[in-house]
Subunit: 508 residues, 2 copies
Amino acid sequence: MNPVHIAGVGMTKFGKSPKSLIEIMCEAAIAALSNSKIQDIGGLYIAAMNPEEFTGDGNLASHVADALGLTGIPALRVETASSSGAAAFHAAFQGVASACYRHVLVIGGEKMTHLTTSASTRILAEVIDAQERNCGATMPALAAMVTAKYRRKFRRSESQMERVLCAVAMKNHANGAHNPYAQFRQAITKEKYYASKFVATPLRLYDCAPMTDGAAAVILTAEQTDLAVRGIGQGTAPVSLCERESLASFPATRIAAKRAYQMAGISPREIDGAEVHDAFTPFEIIGSEDLGFFQPGKGGQAVESGHTAADGSLPINASGGLKSRGHPVGASGVAQIVEIARMLRGESTAKLKRQPQRVLAQSTGGLATNNFVTIVERVKEEARRAATPAPLTPQAPVPGAGKKQGLRAPIGAEGVIETYTILYTTPDGFLPPLALALIRDRKGSLVMAQGEDISGVKIGREVFLRQAAGIFYFTVKSHLQQVRVAMRKLLRKYTPQSEPSRSSDSAL
Amino acid sequence: MNPVHIAGVGMTKFGKSPKSLIEIMCEAAIAALSNSKIQDIGGLYIAAMNPEEFTGDGNLASHVADALGLTGIPALRVETASSSGAAAFHAAFQGVASACYRHVLVIGGEKMTHLTTSASTRILAEVIDAQERNCGATMPALAAMVTAKYRRKFRRSESQMERVLCAVAMKNHANGAHNPYAQFRQAITKEKYYASKFVATPLRLYDCAPMTDGAAAVILTAEQTDLAVRGIGQGTAPVSLCERESLASFPATRIAAKRAYQMAGISPREIDGAEVHDAFTPFEIIGSEDLGFFQPGKGGQAVESGHTAADGSLPINASGGLKSRGHPVGASGVAQIVEIARMLRGESTAKLKRQPQRVLAQSTGGLATNNFVTIVERVKEEARRAATPAPLTPQAPVPGAGKKQGLRAPIGAEGVIETYTILYTTPDGFLPPLALALIRDRKGSLVMAQGEDISGVKIGREVFLRQAAGIFYFTVKSHLQQVRVAMRKLLRKYTPQSEPSRSSDSAL
């Protein structure tokens, strides 16, 4: 297997954003490209959990390639519910390790805040078992049931369990306060935690990571850099909770971790820090046990003793985790890699005791049905200097990057039919027959427009254009008007000095 | 790069199916596994374009892994609109070529016939540019505009163009008549073609591939078999038609083909047959030109002369193509590979002049925004004998395969609360507070159930269960009933011969 390295990382600040999903994904990608020396990306791996239902964006990989100005580049989308970002990273790893590509760009993103909590919860609940969903179960409901079982299995009292969950929430909020990319940047008190309302007993609002907007990106390369991807592993588990062997641990994490440790040739003891998928606070506890850091039932003590604090001996979620960074589902798996890359490079704003050598990221898809573990290692100082981020030069890092961010040239008021169709099977809200045409205006721009009626619509016909509510409408010029145009052209042909016709070039 | 071979292929018959998406995907997978000697699949690559909106299935990769009984296996979903099947195949190729996996299973599927044409058209239209969609454009509308432009560019009359499209439709329907997996198995006459109504001028109903249900599967392996994957290539293009350089050819296909030919080290002349994405008849013509088989503008003549007929010198869509096989969007890219594997093995039912040596599949995503080319080659007779499909043995090819096809054991009328939550943030249609619990019945099965009320809900409590409209409801037994249960247990403990309590074990 060809070794795979990380060449650059970048992300947006997480939190409610007025930008579109594609815009935030481009923003993260440009940050990662600027953070690397790489200009010639060979392939694009996009992660989003459900852009069709969250934002109405289909065919996302092509859209993002297009928006980045990377026209022609191979681009695909990968999905495994809330671990989609990690899945895209793993598929991209295979793209480089197979020598299909030299450099690839992984982008994870999601946009969720424009929907109501009830709408988002419904979309998120599509990932769980249908029988359980029909019963009224949601992701928090299932996470709560796992927590109740964990408590019972390890014989904790309700108040003991609450204390542990509170400790996770307080630790991660305190860590997030230092992270400029985090959505919540305020530490919380014990009182605030206990005052927060129950979402699903025993889980309170402060036990659940917030749905948010955000994107993160990573560049993987076959060239040596300061950061080597040493191990990757993935595991799945039955979707229905009713078919699990155990409810107090997640076999999908155990399988993924075993594979990643095996590939890296290391044991859990050789890990110096971890980002663990804390969509719910108990998942950090269970994750830290499934990853082999602590014995089953001992994860809570490790948090309460400060062992997993940012300045502890095994920092977990020193970035603030999903809990305080926020959880744009398709982005989180990539954001974890961005965070561990920064930790390893000593660029993290977390209050670490020492710069780690080897850090792990663990991502969870659905109710722990599709989990990933990734191990990244700092290589050595010499290699690191060689991979120092290139200074930002005036030329854009990607040819044409951001071309879609600017607005298109205004469309002229007149043009010519480039091609057309008369649509007899129309979408809802449009009556057949409907004339549609691509109109080329005088400056050469093409625009899709609807015919005011279908008569006289032919390729090459001159049309008037008008715009209303974002839709262009065209009218074919009358026979008399066409004759006038033809005569004007003839006149121009025999007049050496052509005269610009201002009126027809005026913008709408 | 490690060489990648095909070990087995399988598909469902395409057409309206009463089965679920997951069931048809399992059916195709089991057919592919039975067609190979492989038992130990290392990874699963799933393709579906939009299962969330077509069928409400989220987290599909985990669901399919689960339904196949491949618990724990790495599984992910790949999406590139209507070329998703080809994209999953390419990602799986990288999984094997990178040595991450020895054997992988690729499954593409979609279920569309249960929706109205208007609903499906809306979902499919999500892949096109938003401005064009808002104008009323659909996939057939855009394909029609491309066709009109192609006709004008190559100076064909309307009737000449119609004759060419009719020739493609007649050829592919005639080919599909021989294919037992095709949805439409009837040749059509010229009269029937000309009598069919316009969907979007100049495209008639018989120019459009039907939306349908179906799944297809392929097993890729690092071991040598009779079929080698020699070249893969992918290319993208601007999503908006308005931003394309040319409207009469598809650059995404040209880029993909160039890469695939390069990897295989061959020229288009060395290809003996092809499956070309004929979602619309003109796409076959344009595809055959973009793939380098014919000069631009000459693809139509090749069809009319019989050059691309099943018994011609370069058979194109000898299987019937998407046009007559049907087009379950996520399945088509994988189904094309199944068809070319059968052609190369001499197992195709197409009336070929000779068994081909090297065949190509071309898949199109969206309006040719994300296209793929795959080249597969027959290796040699000796290797082929070694790879003869294993005889079907009584033991299932996958451990636990099809376990979900059977129904669960009936749930008993009584049980114990295994874990629970009181849900305060409930999904639409459910009033808080809502008690949810996993109940373990006397036979050990777990089931998710809703509490009739929230009082007395604790882990370990005995409950009565009832089922209504597919949902289970539980009632915690009264204090008196609990005492009786405890006494019965005590009695049993001191009575050597335990007596089965029939009443409480009766199925609901």
